[in-house]
């Protein structure tokens, strides 16, 4: 739930000491909006119906004993994962549903701008059953046979589907030993130990209870800002023989926060992938990969204090300084809770600084999925973030009830029965998604309305992918209990780009690209599913801005090997094979 959270309202009240006028601390969260017409650059066109991907998500239904907060409990589950499961060069989509008996979709990309749902034939449709409902999905070639397999995260028993290479998948959960019961909201494939096999990290939210047959109503978090009583996250080590082993504790990543997203990337440029865990109701975590199968929790020293509601973990080098930064969504409301999203600038020494307020990217509403992308191909990364929690009756807000209740000293937040009834009230509903265009010098402007992306659905997962193979990033947004949307990026024809796909072990996850042009350097890293409830195109694209050529591209493979491409052709997708 996100968040859930809440509350905060903030309240705040008073605080401390120093001058009746107050000396403040809380900086203002400002969002710069532009009205500069043409400068907004390319626009997006909603092609959902034309493409045939108007998937309607259905939320879960719970027992009567938690009916008072069912809209809250049933507020997640809309997820989407991009992957070319049939290897035809067109990126397909797997989309989840979260109601018992409702099917998930596998949209096969036909290569002509349309998709066809083949989930039933592929054997991955009918997965929402009494053993659990879908919350997230991620593609990865766990068995290194050259095709993408599928891992499905559920509130219940997760599932691993092996791609048989003939358009069909088979459930190998039991034999792979990755089907423990849990209440997860996130999963990521990455090779944490560099052995060439994709490992799997699962972010769990609720404790390990059966949400569909509740023994009692004490299922919620014990704090709104420092909760550590969520489900325990799991790291499955891929043994290379089709099976996995749970190494969470030995590796030091058995996090017990209320995890909503996990991200992996090499933030310290030491050649291995580190972990970021976005936790609701409390501190996010940064685990530095020490090699030899061990991680160290460096959150306190490198991220600082965090009492917010982390919901998204996305890495990207927005300021092109050679270090991957982080964008974490949180909650921001005008009247109640002013926490705001975090743009964590990587300082290059292992530490991060939140510059979101100054950069103009803090106010993302009730944020969920968010991604870095260079939508205008100008050579720097912009940010798209989707938002909105529960959109029910307009004008009737649950915030007041919530903020009033949770600040009562004797309120027991763990007991769902004590929560005020939501009924048909909204909670940060009907929010418009935000698009922050990078203006350089660590400054952004909000242009969602100008470029056609101010959707007010209850956004959850966000996929960035080039579905039409024209070199620019398109977007697929899945909305909770609502219809999804596919946005085609329509360039003006002047943008220059270059792209790379990687074939090889572990799906190429962890491969680092450094692009050198006459105008500077950019980096990208292939990830295994960063971003809330979604997985984006694993192919890597760079916008070139005014640069008419690429001087070279330096590639660092996950095993440490390197390759350099001199003057590769632009406006071209280069297919690379790992050595």
């Amino acid at each position: 739930m996100g968040s859930i959270v809440a509350l905060a309202w903030a309240g705040l009240m008073a605080a401390g000491c120093s001058g009746p006028e107050g000396s403040g601390s809380g900086g203002r969260l400002s969002t710069r909006r532009v009205h500069d017409g043409g400068r907004a650059g390319p626009t997006f066109t909603d092609v959902t119906d034309r493409a045939g991907v108007g998937f309607v998500h259905h939320k879960p239904v719970f027992e009567d004993k938690v009916r008072n907060i069912e809209p809250w409990l049933a507020s997640v589950g809309a997820a989407a994962a991009a992957g070319d499961y049939d290897g035809d060069g067109n990126v397909d989509l797997y989309v989840t549903n979260s109601r018992l008996g409702y099917t998930n979709a596998l949209y096969h990309n036909n290569g002509d701008g349309t998709f066809t749902d083949v989930a039933a034939a592929a054997g991955v449709a009918d997965v929402n059953e009494s053993d659990g409902l879908s919350m997230d999905a991620v593609w990865g070639d766990y068995d290194n046979d050259g095709d993408e397999d599928l891992y499905l995260v559920k509130w219940g028993r997760n599932l691993l589907f092996r791609n048989e290479g003939n358009g069909r998948f088979i459930d190998v959960t039991a034999e792979a030993r990755v089907g423990d019961w849990g209440n997860g909201n996130a999963a990521i494939f990455f090779d944490y130990d560099g052995d060439g096999w994709l490992d799997l990290y699962i972010g769990n939210y609720f404790r390990n209870v059966d949400l569909w047959r509740l023994p009692d109503t004490r299922i919620m978090h014990n704090s709104f800002e420092s909760a550590r009583d969520g489900g325990t996250n799991v790291l499955y080590h891929n043994l290379g023989d089709g099976t996995f082993a749970d190494v969470s504790v030995e590796a030091g990543v058995a996090d017990t926060g209320w995890t909503l997203d996990v991200g992996a990337a090499d933030y310290d440029n030491d050649g291995d992938m580190d972990l970021h865990v976005a936790n609701d109701f409390g501190p996010d975590k940064l685990y530095r990969n020490e090699g030899k199968g061990r991680f160290t929790d460096v959150s306190a020293a490198n991220l600082g204090v965090d009492t917010r509601k982390g919901m998204n973990s996305e890495f990207g080098d927005f300021n092109n300084d050679g270090f991957l930064d982080l964008y974490v969504t949180n909650i921001m409301t005008k009247d109640y809770l002013k926490e705001g999203n975090m743009l964590l600038r990587n300082n290059g020494d292992g530490s991060f600084s939140d510059i979101a307020p100054e950069a103009g990217v803090a106010d993302g509403g009730w944020g969920w999925g968010a991604k870095f992308l260079d939508y205008d191909l100008d050579g720097d990364l912009d940010i798209y973030t989707v938002n909105g929690f529960v959109s029910q009756r307009r004008g009737e807000e649950y915030w007041f009830d919530l903020a009033t209740a949770v600040t009562e000293p004797d309120f027991d937040s763990t007991d769902a029965r004590q929560w005020p009834v939501i009924g048909d009230k909204s909670l940060s509903g009907y929010e418009k998604n935000r698009f922050f265009r990078n203006e350089g010098r660590e400054s952004f402007v909000e242009v969602a309305a100008q470029i056609g992306l101010a959707n007010e659905g209850d956004g959850r997962g966000l996929v960035v992918f080039d579905y039409d193979n024209d070199g620019d990033p398109d977007l697929y947004v899945v909305n909770q209990n609502q219809k999804a949307a596919l946005y085609r990026n329509d360039q003006d024809g002047r943008g220059r780009w270059i792209g790379f796909s990687v074939a090889g072990r572990a799906s190429g996850v962890g491969t680092r690209f450094t692009l050198v042009t006459d105008g500077g350097r950019q980096i990208r890293e292939i990830d295994g599913g960063n971003g809330y409830a979604s997985q984006s195109d694993r192919r890597v694209y760079f916008g070139l801005g005014p640069n008419a050529r690429v001087v070279r591209v330096e590639i660092r493979w996950p095993d440490g090997g390197t390759r350099t491409l001199e003057h590769p052709a632009i406006n071209t997708l280069h297919a690379l094979a790992m050595p």
Binding site: A10, G11, M13, A15, G16, C17, E21, K338, F400, P409
Partner: protein, 288 residues
Amino acid sequence: MRWRVVLTILAAAGLLAGAAAGLSWWRSAREARTIALLRDKLGAQPGEPAEHHWLGLRLADQGRQDESLAHLEIAAERNPTDLRFGNDLRLACIRFGRYDSGIAFLESLVEKHPDLPEPLLQLALSYIDKMPDHMMGIVGQGKLSKQSIALLTRILEGGRPRDAQVTWAALYALGMNHLYWPKALGHAPLSVDAFERCILHQRTSLGGPEPYFILPYLGLGDALVKARKHQEARRVWTVAQTLLGRDERLVRRLSIEDDEALTELVDETRGLGVVVDTDLAVLWGRKP
């Protein structure tokens, strides 16, 4: 000749500087001796509350947290109705980030003296003091605020005789507590009520105008702005200016003609995450 004058002046300046340095050293040494003597004395047997208070403050300046707090607690415990003792203990807790320690002590003091308003007031303020703790999220802050409001209400509705300054401080703190809640939660009218009572109280029970009388006027106007009553707010500030003279904070507010800009100012100065002054020294002379 001219050189002689210059040299004389330089020599005199040097002597003066030396004397000043010497005097400073002598004072420091004397204070150090006094502190040492008092530590020895109070270590052997309890002294007067004022001695513990003095020593606690000196030790705080030296960064000796545990010793400082121990002596300040003794002073406050020996004389729980002395506002200075409780106030300085809280300020030391803020200075050292020892919020929980201060709260625990004051809670025990209230338990021992449930009918005394002064410990209740200090405890209510200590809850406010903890809010800026960087580990405290806004829900936690809201809970602290509600606890503080409950204690302040207990003081004001207790019906027992109390010092007029205690009543003023309780009303002012109550107004400030409500003022910092977001508008949407509907606390602004409660804040207005508390500040109005505070102003009435200072007019009728505290004699001639004191510098701190300006504070509830500022708060009342800000609460009225939060309640979307901008014109009423301006009237309050104008009255305050007439009664109490020029104050930069009043001038700043009265110079803003646009209602939304005024709201913005109030949100910034009374909004989320903005620190609140709980130092009661305004009652005995600190500039408010």
